[in-house]
């Protein structure tokens, strides 16, 4: 169950693991049907938008189809063969995804996506005042601390929780290099802090945050830690138990899996102290006309019919990742990130948001092109088959922090190639000329 502990400081310094060779990348890519398509006027697709959603390998597509063509049934009910098989596969999937992040199966709640997981936590803490107030309840005078680099998913639910409970939202600021301003830590995280919610890796800046240091600060004041692991779990080995966070969220669709399923995972004692916010079937023990007792976690948080075939596909996705080796995935992306950063550094009028070196960084590289709006940049790149994300990437405050309203983001994954990175850099270099900004 316990993968080697990964110190955040090791990220971007992949130790002994090596990037995939050209032959290996070719073999990796052969498993992803979509990667062989062309775009527009016969351009090979260069998919550099995995930070938004990743592509799925044949193993994941097949797993879902095999399940649906053989065993499809309602889980946790019914005594027939199909229901047995479905339940078995569904719970095996839970154990596999939990194990992938260093946890046990009872410590992983299926959610719709990471966003829903964060809402379950934020709502749970703010509903706590109703009925029996628990130790985690947010109240007036409490403080919730986030960072200025959060995705809206890890900001807005906390703003709402504070509005509901009278707690105050505070945040850790950023330095000019795109890192957390940890000089601020002692001032922001205080005895009043009840929750420290932060991203493991920024989807805009690529910054990998020092989890042990933040967890230590939270522990020192008895605050709950909530980790947004959306951009870390897909890209490097993550052991949530070793990291010591209380709760974490991540989404299947960013790690070769399907849409429609994510996870809220964490320490079983913490999950047990969290009240459910969505209620109904499947999450109950005894129901009378007057009252209901709830099941233990994780089922307590899984009201209604769950995403069964998605869970099974996600299982195939983590198996696929494990077979490739997450340390090699990390090493491969580290190599590509270095190349990407070095390439864009050469381009006049192109500014990187976030760290300009690959250390403690994932391969989401957002740039602002002087004189050209990101929407136009994205269109220009698409014309040559290069798929990137443009806009604010659901993180307006971090853009504002660096004087931008939007950016163009290239994000690499395990199937990305040096050729794609080079094509991106070369094409980006022609954007300002085309739009008369150079």
């Amino acid at each position: 169950m316990s993968a080697p502990a990964v110190d955040a400081a090791r990220v971007g310094d992949p130790g002994g693991a090596t990037a995939f060779s050209d032959d290996e990348v070719a073999a990796v890519r052969a498993r992803f049907p979509v990667l062989s398509r062309t775009v527009g006027a016969g351009h090979a697709l260069a998919y550099l938008d995995s930070g938004a959603t990743s592509q799925r390998p044949d193993s994941v597509l097949d797993a879902e189809r095999d399940y649906l063509t053989r065993s499809n049934a309602a889980v946790h009910r019914g005594a027939h063969t199909l229901a047995e098989e479905a339940t078995q596969a569904y719970e095996d999937a839970r154990a596999a995804v939990a194990g992938f992040v260093g946890l046990d199966d009872d410590e992983l709640v299926w959610t719709r996506n990471a966003t829903e997981g964060l809402n379950i936590v934020a709502l749970g803490l703010s509903h706590y005042g109703i009925g029996t107030p628990g130790p985690l309840a947010l109240r007036a005078g409490d403080e919730v601390v986030v960072t200025e680099m959060e995705h809206h998913a890890n900001l807005v639910p906390w703003q709402q929780a504070c509005a509901r409970t009278g707690a105050t939202l505070r945040w850790i600021g950023l330095d000019d290099d795109g890192r957390l301003d940890l000089d601020d830590l002692g001032r922001v995280v205080t005895e009043r802090t009840k929750v420290l919610a932060f991203t493991h890796a920024s989807n805009v800046l690529g910054t990998v945050n020092p989890v042990p240091r933040l967890v230590a600060a939270a522990k020192a004041v008895g605050a709950l830690t909530v980790l947004d692991a959306c951009q870390s779990v897909p890209h490097f080995p993550v052991d949530l138990r070793a990291l010591g966070v209380d709760l974490a969220v991540f989404s299947a669709h960013k790690m070769l899996g399907p849409t429609g399923i994510g996870a809220l995972a964490g320490r079983r004692e913490v999950l047990a102290a969290l009240p459910p916010v969505v209620t109904g079937g499947s999450m109950v023990e005894k129901v009378t006309m007057e009252s209901t007792s709830f099941r233990e976690p994780p089922q307590r948080f899984e009201a209604g019919t769950p995403p069964v075939s998605q869970a099974i596909a996600w299982h195939a996705a983590v198996d696929h990742l494990s077979a490739l080796g997450m340390d090699r995935v990390a090493a491969h992306e580290h190599m590509l990130t270095e190349r990407l950063l070095a390439g864009v550094a050469e381009l006049p009028g192109v500014r990187v948001l976030g760290p300009t070196t690959a250390r403690d960084r994932v391969g989401a590289v957002s740039v602002v092109v002087e004189g050209v709006h990101p929407h136009d940049v994205g269109q220009f790149l698409d014309n040559e088959g290069i798929a990137v994300r443009v806009g604010h990437h659901c993180a307006q405050p971090v853009h504002r922090r660096y004087g931008a309203t939007a950016s163009t983001r290239a994000s690499v994954y395990l199937y990305s190639t040096t050729g794609e990175v080079d094509a991106f850099v070369e094409t980006l270099g022609r954007v300002r000329g085309y739009f008369g900004a150079a």
């Binding site: 527009g40 006027a41 709006h373 929407h375 269109q379 014309n383 806009g391 853009h399 739009f435």
Partner: protein, 179 residues
């Protein structure tokens, strides 16, 4: 012409630079004005546009668009389309201006099916290709939506200030594109 050049016609790139009407000026005496702020949450594009109307000098019932003043930030499509809007509608009677907005919207929404009437739309006809890019429709409509919104309120204001000017026909449909 490549797909890209079809979208980014030279006229569009020129307008994106020229930004006719850019800057929020005050309405002159005797004029009525209203502002509209439009935002595209998808990409953060925004425009604040002031429509200024006056009563027609020759005593006809329809008021006239005296100015379209705007500021904002956005992609070349949204900047250019607002610039074109300024050129096209300033000096026109209000009903004519609203007719042009309708015409433009129909063209943009037609997914490239409707051949634009260049006689009527002038430089705005260059945006016909935008309709083929579903995620750019909102960009092209941003300033026009703001204009439609501001215009209807400016006219209402003018009418209130000088009731002898008859109520003009102002379309009040708002943009529903969910790009």
């Amino acid at each position: 012409m490549s797909g890209l050049d079809q979208l980014y016609q030279q006229i569009i790139l020129d307008h994106a630079k020229a930004k006719h009407g850019f800057g929020l000026r005050d309405a002159g005496p005797g004029a009525a004005s209203a502002d509209s702020h439009q935002y595209n949450p998808l990409c953060g594009d925004e425009v604040t546009l002031r429509a200024v109307v006056t009563t027609a000098s020759d005593g006809t019932a329809a008021p006239v668009v005296a100015d379209v003043a705007w500021t904002g930030e956005g992609c070349s499509i949204s900047q250019a389309s607002t610039s074109v809007l300024h050129e096209l509608v300033v000096g026109r009677p209000v009903p004519e201006a609203t007719g042009l907005v309708e015409e433009f919207r129909t063209m943009i929404r037609s997914r490239g099916q409707v051949e634009p009437d260049e006689e009527v739309l002038g430089d705005a006809a260059a945006f016909a290709g935008v309709g083929r890019h579903a995620n750019r429709v909102k960009c092209a409509m941003l300033g026009w939506t703001a204009f439609e919104d501001a215009l209807s309120r400016a006219v209402a204001d003018l009418f209130e200030a000088s009731p002898q000017a008859g109520p003009p026909a102002v379309s009040t449909t708002t943009e529903q594109e969910n790009a």
